[in-house]
Amino acid sequence: MEVIVTKDSQQTTASLVGSLDTLAAQQIAPQMNELKDFEGTLVLDCEKLSYISSSGLRLFLMLRKAAAERGGKIIVRNISNEIRSVFMMTGFLNLFDIQ
């Protein structure tokens, strides 16, 4: 599981690559924590994310809470149908700007 972070003046983009199971979530947690302090817009690119467990969702929610506190914006991009359905079940569709 990899998180590739790219930043420009406008936005920070985090590309999630691999399968975000519980173990992976544990592994990327420090990286994700760092992202809490993002400037401008945070784009979470899920094009290469094949799977997400509740631990992964938890990280997403953590970032979303941080953004809400600081007034930042989070965009979730390119999610697969499977992950979209998980987002739907959990009500995350209403919490995130999905593109």
Partner: protein
């Protein structure tokens, strides 16, 4: 037409006056009776006195005249004897006799034939009174040989003076009338005492008759005189005179009374007799006339003596009768007028009795009993109206309560499951239940529902009946639902219900409750019984399920209810009921009894009946037993048939991991390999994988809090149609199915970070089921893969 008795009975005034008049009549009757008897005596005495006195007077008068005749005769007698030598002087004496005694009719001084030789065969100096002229003659001749006459012969034969019987003096030459006369005679004797002739004085009896007849003490009374032979000499009926005696009539018609009277009079007795004379009841007073041998009698008809009295009696009786009638009339009027308010009261209360409670009762100002009565009735009516008003209100409010009860009944029934079969999509359970309340609302309850792969069911009976029982039933039912939503242990559910029911149980009501949780995949039945009737498990034969004798719910707040369990064999039918079944009573108060229930269940088991058929045949049995008797208690039954489907395993894999998150990829690989073997599509695979990971991570994170690393086992089974994933751990008891569903609608700020795992499992899988068996948590997750 009323009968007289009824007519009198219907009116108090008639009755009262009739009694009064009856009483008065008795008093009058006695008084008048005494008066009449006494006056009858007095009148009788008076009549006797009067008649006797009159008779005495009469006889006195007659006697005095007769005595005068006798005295005059005696006074002249000696002259005749002294002057026997001068026959012509006899004419002088006879004449002087008449002159001195004008009442005399005649006087004869008669001698034996040839006593005076010179005067021949006949010598009788006779003077008589012809209307005041006194004529003197010699009366003896060839045609009137006087010495054969009674008046002449009697002194000669009797040798004493006396009176002849009255007779008609018939002298062919006689110029005087044929008067009836009687003669006083006296023998004339010479100095030797030899009889030589008769001195006879005649007296007209017309005078005597007049004197006696004049005696008339009563208008219809009459007098009579009989001679020495009983011949009538004085009698108002002139045809009887001389020719008939007092005995004549008795020859044809014997009458001992008259015969005796005649004899008494002839004997010269004095007295009074009461007898029937000539057809009339009469009193006869009789008395002899001096020495003549005659007897005088006065006949007084009773009708004369008592006539006035009888008339008076009739008048008095008439007056009394009229008086009594008037009294009856007047009393009846007075009493009925006095009782008028009573009659009105009777009419008015009659109207009130028909339901017109506002009928006015006239209350007059009387102080007597009637006044008080009408006053009381007035008061009573007031109270009655008030009471009726209250009753109306009570009835109205009762009616509203009843309609509310109806609503309550509807609500109550709607709380219980009503759709049968309840789980048409499931092949493993068939269930049928029924509650028949004895009243509008009942105290029985049953309920069941499926949560995950568990069937929760209960049957209960609240003590008492009606609304209070129904309310507790509703409470119990709600508690059962609420508690079972997150708790699968029947004893815990029971405890929770018990605690809550005990909290405010002021009415001291209680509930007997059987509570069961059937794990459908395994057939494990857990149950807890709180004082309820033991259910039956029917597998060919019915057998009562063994139950601990727990107390009913609502008695002891901290009662420790214990659960029991056993494995329900496939094909078993559970039969639960309330005591309304066993205690159903027929008209003779006999109870249906457990025996009969069991008998029916035996035949149900033999016929392999469905739950619905079982309930129906039990109901038929109860109805044919109870017949027309009222249902005494609520009746509830629940039957549950368990037939788990055969699971033809084509896959059976197992993986055991220690509780380390680093083992998760292994788990995922395990899952993916299974998905490949079962040719599951990507979406389903992803869903199942996520659910399994969440379940396992859950165990790894929380099942062993003490840090001691343990294991988690995952079993995967499939029959090709569905995939069963079973997660087993030996950690602390944890029922993920009892967790509250995560709220996915909350805002970012309110969303908790955790809690999504179990939610996801439930959402992703078709059904999940938790069991704790042998100190292990067993979570079964099922997904249809085709």
């Amino acid at each position: 037409m009323l009968s007289p008795v009824k007519y009198i009975r219907q009116s108090l005034s008639r009755k009262l006056s009739l009694w009064i008049v009856l009483f008065a009549a008795i008093i009058f009757n006695i008084a008048l009776g005494i008066m009449f008897t006494r006056s009858l005596d007095e009148i009788h005495k008076e009549a006797v006195n009067r008649a006797t006195q009159i008779l005495d007077n009469t006889t006195l008068r007659v006697n005095s005249i007769l005595e005068r005749v006798e005295t005059a005769t005696d006074n002249t007698d000696w002259l005749v004897v002294r002057h026997l030598d001068a026959p012509d002087s006899m004419f002088v004496y006879s004449r002087r006799m008449l002159i001195n005694n004008p009442e005399l009719n005649g006087c004869s001084i008669a001698f034996e034939p040839y006593y005076f030789k010179d005067r021949g065969r006949y010598f009788s100096a006779y003077s008589y009174n012809d209307n005041g002229n006194i004529l003197t003659t010699q009366e003896g001749n060839l045609h009137y040989e006087y010495f054969y006459m009674d008046w002449y012969l009697m002194p000669k034969l009797l040798d004493s003076s006396g009176w002849t019987e009255p007779f008609f003096d018939y002298n062919p030459d006689s110029i005087y009338s044929k008067d009836m006369i009687a003669s006083y005679f006296k023998p004339i004797k010479d100095e030797n005492g030899e009889y030589i002739g008769t001195f006879a004085v005649d007296i007209s009896l017309e005078w005597l008759s007049r004197t006696i007849s004049a005696v008339k003490p009563y208008p219809h009374s009459y007098s009579m005189m009989i001679g020495q032979g009983g011949t009538f000499f004085v009698h108002p009926d002139s045809t009887k005179l001389f020719y008939k005696t007092i005995f004549t009539d008795t020859f044809d018609n014997p009458d001992p009374d008259i015969t005796e009277l005649g004899h008494a009079m002839l004997r010269g007795e004095e007295g009074m007799r009461q007898l029937r004379m000539e057809g009339k009841d009469s009193y006869v007073f009789y008395k002899p006339l001096g020495v003549t041998g005659w007897s005088v009698a006065i006949v007084c008809p009773e009708s004369d003596i008592f006539g006035g009295y009888k008339m008076l009696q009739r008048i008095v009786v008439f007056i009394v009768l009229i008086g009594l009638l008037l009294m009856l009339l007047v009393f009846s009027r007075i009493v009925s007028r006095e009782l008028m308010p009573l009659t009105q009261l009777a009419d008015q209360t009659g109207v009130i009795a028909t339901g017109h409670f506002d009928q006015k009762i006239a209350i007059d100002g009387r102080d007597d009993e009637i006044g008080r009565l009408s006053q009381s009735f007035g008061n009573m009516q007031q109270s009655l109206m008030k009471y009726i008003d209250e009753l109306k209100q009570t009835t109205a409010s009762k009616a509203s309560i009843e309609s509310e009860l109806k609503v309550a009944s509807d609500i109550q029934l709607s709380m219980l499951p009503q759709l049968f079969p309840p789980f048409p999509e499931r092949k493993d359970i068939d269930l049928y239940a029924k509650m028949i309340p004895a009243k509008e609302v009942g105290g029985d309850l049953f309920d069941f529902f499926l949560r995950d792969e568990k069937l929760f069911f209960c049957v209960g009976d609240v003590s008492g009946k009606g609304a209070p029982a129904a309310m507790l039933m509703a409470v119990t039912h709600s508690l059962f639902r609420a508690t079972s939503a997150r708790e699968s242990d029947p004893s815990v559910i029971m405890r929770t219900i018990n605690e809550t029911v005990c909290l405010d149980n002021r009415a001291n009501m209680f509930v007997t409750l059987f509570l069961g949780v059937l794990d459908l995949p395994t057939g494990r039945l857990r149950y807890c019984n709180a004082g309820h009737d033991y259910p039956f498990a029917i597998l060919n034969q019915p057998s009562a399920i063994d139950c601990l004798p727990n107390l009913p719910v609502g008695i002891i707040p901290d009662m420790k209810y214990a659960k029991q369990e056993f494995m329900l064999a496939p094909g078993t039918t559970l039969f639960l009921y309330t005591d309304g079944l066993t205690e159903a009573m027929n008209a003779t108060q006999e109870q249906f009894g457990i025996q009969r229930v069991e008998e029916i269940l035996v035949s149900c088991g033999e016929k392999k009946m469905s739950p619905r058929q079982i309930l129906e045949s039990v109901l038929v049995g109860v109805h044919s037993f109870v017949q027309e008797a009222d249902q005494s208690d609520d009746l509830t039954m629940l039957a549950l048939h368990y037939t788990p489907g055969e699971f033809a395993t084509i896959l059976n894999e197992k993986i055991t991991l220690n509780c380390d998150l680093s083992r998760i990829p292994e788990l995922n690989d395990f899952m993916i390999s299974i998905a490949e073997r079962l040719v599951m599509d990507e979406t389903v695979t992803s869903q199942v994988r996520l659910a399994l990971e969440e379940a396992v991570v859950n165990v790894m994170n929380y099942a062993y809090p003490e840090g001691r690393k343990q294991f988690v086992t995952v079993k995967a089974m499939s029959d090709g149609h569905e995939l069963r994933l079973v997660v087993i751990d030996a950690g602390i008891p944890f029922d993920p199915t009892s967790k509250e569903k995560a709220d996915t609608t909350l805002s970012v700020e309110d969303r908790p970070i955790g809690g999504l795992g179990i939610y996801l499992i439930r959402e992703l899988m078709d059904s999940i089921n938790y069991e704790r068996v042998d100190e292990r948590n067993i979570l079964t997750m099922i997904k249809n893969i085709k």
